[in-house]
Amino acid sequence: MNVKHHLDEATLVSYAAGSMSQAMALVVACHIAMCPKCRERVKDSEAIGGMLLEGLQPAAIKGDALDSVLAALDNEPSVNAAIAPTEIHRDRAVDARSVPAPLQDYIGGSLDTVEWRTIVPGVYYHDLPCKSERGGVSRLLRIAPGKAMLPHSHDGNELTLILQGSFSDEVGRFTAGDIADLDGDIEHQPLVDSEVDCICLIATEAPLKFSTLLGKIVQPITGF
């Protein structure tokens, strides 16, 4: 997989800080799972957290806290010291139809078994049950070749990760693994230009803007 579009630095920091909605964090984690470059970058962002933790004024802990934890260790299964890390398939991400690990918690291992609901012919969605205080939304969108979304912009942050197929907009061409990390400054009109349906994972920070968007978004445009 040749990822060309990556996460914004500010997005990585927000993910590393744990200050992002569940919906947004899911998309970020999926891109990181698919992208070695951002996997490197996020470690640097998390190092900011490590440094801040190190510099914190220690809080008082219960007098018996250590004893309680040590007692709990006794109940841990006594495994051999070095547990071999689970073998992972290094080429998992190469399979275009594979589902990134964080998303598997929600939909299982295959895009083929997702239950789609139709918005208009050629445009389908599947909502993911991501909770978040601000009500951020995350959903899978499946759009047939040659269809486009209406031009839209957003007031908040919006993340779109391509899982299959491709689309092009004013920013460039997005294929599997690429992420469109946008905020209100950009207006775009993604057009699906792959031969297969384009499947993407989308999250926005605020639900209202997203439903407004979805309300008018997806106008089928035939042909290129």
Partner: protein, 197 residues
């Protein structure tokens, strides 16, 4: 946590001081390889009060913070075999465990992780390996040099758990400005602790 004024404790960042030198990573490795309790006890004594302090800052009450702290320290023991010193310092790794435990508790939903197991890529040997204490020292120097408005957004992200939009609302600055402050701060920190070897 909503009644806390935004970034009110930003001055605390300036008070961050390097702690005494100790090779926490080596202790973590000993926990992983030998299930060594005395190493674990040392890690506990250093990190447990800091982890609890972090959780309290996220706005959770005392008893919950204590509980999540203990869970976090237990997961240090359970997951030590997944730790690689070339990938992260001990404090960074323990920070991510504390972050995940706290969020899981607050949301009753698992924070999407990109996967600890995916850290088992070939270690990048081109990176020099230096002791935690040296690295932490360097990073603390770096953050102390950030302009206040950049330190503030970093602080609000990590310690108050605020999203970009939330920070934008609280400070009354446009979303784009919040993001560019975070970008600037992050780039600056990364450069400083990379170059200043």
């Amino acid at each position: 946590m909503d009644n806390k004024p935004p970034g009110d404790e930003v001055e605390n960042i300036a008070m961050i001081r390097p702690t005494t030198a100790q090779d926490w990573s080596a202790l973590l490795e000993r926990v992983a390889e030998e299930r060594d309790r005395s190493s674990f006890v040392q890690l506990f004594q250093h990190f447990a009060p800091r982890v609890k302090s972090y959780i309290l800052r996220l706005g959770l009450v005392e008893s919950t913070a204590e509980e999540i702290m203990q869970e976090t320290m237990l997961s240090v023991w359970r997951k030590a075999h997944l730790y690689h010193r070339k990938k992260a310092s001990a404090s960074t790794w323990i920070f991510t465990l504390a972050r995940n435990q706290s969020i899981d508790w607050m949301r009753k939903q698992k924070y999407p992780e990109y996967g600890l197991e995916e850290w088992h890529e070939e270690p990048d040997d081109s990176k020099d390996e230096c002791a935690d204490s040296v690295l932490t020292d360097r990073m603390i120097k770096a953050i102390n040099t950030l302009p206040e408005n950049q330190a503030q957004v970093i602080y609000m992200s990590f310690f108050e758990g605020r999203s970009h939009t939330d920070i934008s609302d609280r400070l009354g600055v446009p979303l784009g400005s919040v993001k560019s402050r975070i970008r600037l701060a992050s780039e600056k920190l990364k450069h400083m602790w990379r170059d200043d070897v």
